[in-house]
């Protein structure tokens, strides 16, 4: 008789746990990488604290911070503290890095998710529309816009957006976080969202075009379905699987670009903290910021993996 594959439903929880365990080596490697990288950084650490500290004070300070210990001892100590959620103390502000990061996390999340929402909401439909009449006017226009969006230097685009929407049109505030309200979020999110939007439009178009040639689309048409229904009932969900992959990966790119956008718009996120800390040799803060970005990225991709299961039944958490 015909073999029938059983339906194995591994509980999502165990999948989650396994995936979390899998990320531990990655996280450790990132910590090690950043740690080693910055153990060779030029410029003494104490000089980031005070201009002309007494040499004795400097020595005492180094000892206090454990900077005289060999690298592996320092690394061990750092990991041990990390495990308790302690990212160390900032050289620059003398605050716990954990507290600094906590204050910066929300604005960055806001910015990244707003940019992501904007780029998905605009880019995906644009790609769909373009794909419905490949080679047509809409398609050509959309793809020109998309490839343009991918080819512009981000900070430059941000400046232009700032000039146009804040100064010339006067619609929105040009900078800052204000009271955290939406109007402050729009311009930075727009700036950040343009290139992923372009990317999503292109990916979606390519995905839809590819799926439109699939056999099951022909089947759907043979059922007497209109093109709109074909797209809605059969193409959309399949395209989403591909788009979702791009979205997950693009979060990483967004976090990188957020550094530029946050600096330009005086947005108080992890990115501007990172740049500040890098320029001022505040190593604990640099390590903390990078680590948080990496953790966030891994978490988001875990979420994306879970979403796959919702969208694509072929994926079972086995």
């Amino acid at each position: 008789m015909e073999a029938v594959e059983g339906r194995k439903k591994v509980p999502m929880l165990s999948f989650l746990i396994r995936r979390l365990l899998q990320t531990i080596p990655t996280v450790l490697a990132v910590v090690l990488l950043v740690f080693v990288l910055f153990s060779v950084v030029p410029g003494s650490i104490v000089s980031s604290m005070s201009d002309d500290a007494d040499p004795q004070v400097e020595l005492r300070l180094k000892k206090q911070l454990g900077l005289d210990d060999p690298v592996h001892v320092r690394f061990g100590a750092y990991i041990a503290k990390l495990a308790t959620g302690d990212f160390g103390t900032s050289f620059r502000t003398r605050e716990p890095v954990t507290a600094m990061l906590a204050k910066r996390a929300w604005p960055t999340l806001q910015l990244i998710f707003a940019a992501m929402a904007f780029s998905v909401v605009l880019g995906v439909p644009l790609g769909f529309i373009a794909a419905l009449r490949p080679g047509g006017l809409v398609d050509s226009a959309a793809m020109i816009v998309a490839v343009t969006g991918l080819s512009i230097a981000k900070f430059w685009l941000g400046l232009v957006i700032m000039y146009v929407f804040a100064l010339k049109l006067g619609w929105l505030p040009s900078f800052g976080y204000g009271d955290g309200g939406l109007k402050y979020l729009l311009l930075p999110a727009l700036t950040l969202g343009v290139s992923p939007m372009a990317l999503f439009a292109r990916t979606t178009r390519a995905a839809v075009l590819e799926i439109m040639t699939a056999d099951f689309v022909r089947t759907a048409r043979s059922k007497g379905m209109s093109e709109t229904r074909v797209v809605k009932w059969h193409v959309m969900r399949n395209a989403l699987v591909i788009i979702l992959t791009t979205v997950g990966l693009q979060f990483g790119g967004l976090m990188g670009q957020a550094v530029v956008v946050e600096k330009l718009f005086s947005w108080p996120g992890i990115g501007s903290l990172l740049v500040d800390s890098v320029l001022q040799r505040d190593i604990p803060a640099v390590q903390g910021s990078i680590l948080v970005v990496v953790l966030a990225f891994l978490a988001i991709n875990l979420l994306v993996d879970l979403l796959y299961g919702v969208i694509d039944p072929r994926i079972r958490y086995a």
Binding site: E2, E5, G224
Partner: protein, 326 residues
């Protein structure tokens, strides 16, 4: 051949437009199928049989299009109908089963839903009703435990099961014509017979005509009452199934019959049986002048190389397109 035919194709030409020039991928196609009749279209891949089927159901997509000719369905010309009117026929009165059940079903949609769509589209049922009808449809194609299976996704079913689902979809609205394009080619040999049997029985029960498309003359002759053989975009011979085996008139048909294994061992062999005709099928863009079979034909004469043969009526019934037919 009594009564008005269900579908009548007259002098159909299908064009291939690759942007620079336009060539006829198939031309001069004429045949008719009566209500409840089984009709086969046989030929090597690339001979134009599948695009002919797609033309009937209105699924030709660029670069392919209908260049000339007429398709009359149930007394109505359908080749120039509006897209919406064509959609009303499609699935509802003309249905189609495809070769590859693995890819012909949407991988991210439960099979039940894919059946239910038919009822929602053509019968105006609600999704809830359609779902119930889908269970019944699954049962009718003898899928075990249909209440559970409706919620399965295609990857959870075996090849044979999937093709049963395809049949359920195709027959859901009780169409007048079922086009089956190589319905069993991708399946295990043991499953093939079951599927053919199922399809034939269901169609017979409902009075649905079948247009079966295959490279396998034996299979088609077994299922269908009449058979047309296509070569290089043209129908070269059309006969009753029994006749075509006994007295093949076209040299190509002859070759096909000769290449068939003896009765009884037919099912055991793969698809390499057509190889025994010497030479290769010409490319669409490079059809030879005269009779298109002439480069491979043992009986070819000068006229075969210059003048395209017309379709001649045979005394015993049927048509053949050969200067030297018996």
């Amino acid at each position: 051949m009594t009564g008005a035919p269900l579908i009548e194709v007259e002098d159909l030409r299908i064009d291939l437009d690759d942007g620079e020039r336009r060539v006829a991928a198939a031309e001069g196609i004429s045949f008719r199928i009566d209500r409840g009749e089984t009709f086969g279209l046989v030929g090597e891949s690339g001979c134009g049989k599948s695009i002919t089927a797609l033309a009937l159901i209105g699924l030709l997509r660029p670069p392919l299009s209908i260049g000339a000719g007429m398709i009359r369905f149930d007394g109505r010309e359908i080749q120039h109908l509006s897209a919406a009117a064509q959609r009303d026929l499609r699935g509802n009165r003309i249905a189609m089963i495809f070769q590859e059940p693995m890819t012909a079903l949407n991988p991210v949609s439960p099979v039940g839903r894919q059946i239910a769509e038919m009822f929602v589209l053509h019968k105006g049922n609600s999704w809830r009703e359609a779902h119930q009808l889908a269970v019944e449809a699954l049962a009718s194609v003898r899928v075990p435990a249909p209440e559970r299976r409706v919620n399965d996704y295609p990857h959870q079913l075996s090849g044979g099961m999937r093709q049963r689902v395809m049949i359920a979809i195709a027959l859901a609205c009780g169409p007048d014509l079922l086009i089956a394009d190589e319905p069993t080619t991708a399946l295990d040999v043991t499953v093939q017979a079951e599927i053919i049997e199922l399809m034939r029985n269901l169609c017979a029960e409902r009075g649905t005509a079948i247009l079966m498309i295959s490279h396998d003359l034996g299979l088609v002759a077994n299922v269908c009452r009449r058979v047309a053989v296509m070569y290089a975009g043209r129908i070269v011979e059309e006969r009753g199934s029994a006749d075509i085996f006994r007295t093949p008139s076209h040299p190509y048909t002859q070759g096909l019959v000769d290449s068939l294994p003896r009765l009884g061992s037919r099912a055991a062999l793969g698809r390499s049986r057509l190889k025994e005709i010497a030479g290769v099928v010409p490319a669409i863009t490079n059809f030879p002048d005269g009779c298109r079979f002439n480069p491979r034909c043992a009986h070819a004469t000068d006229i075969c190389r210059s003048v395209a043969p017309t379709a001649d009526l045979l005394e015993a019934g049927g048509l053949v397109r050969c200067h030297h037919h018996a």
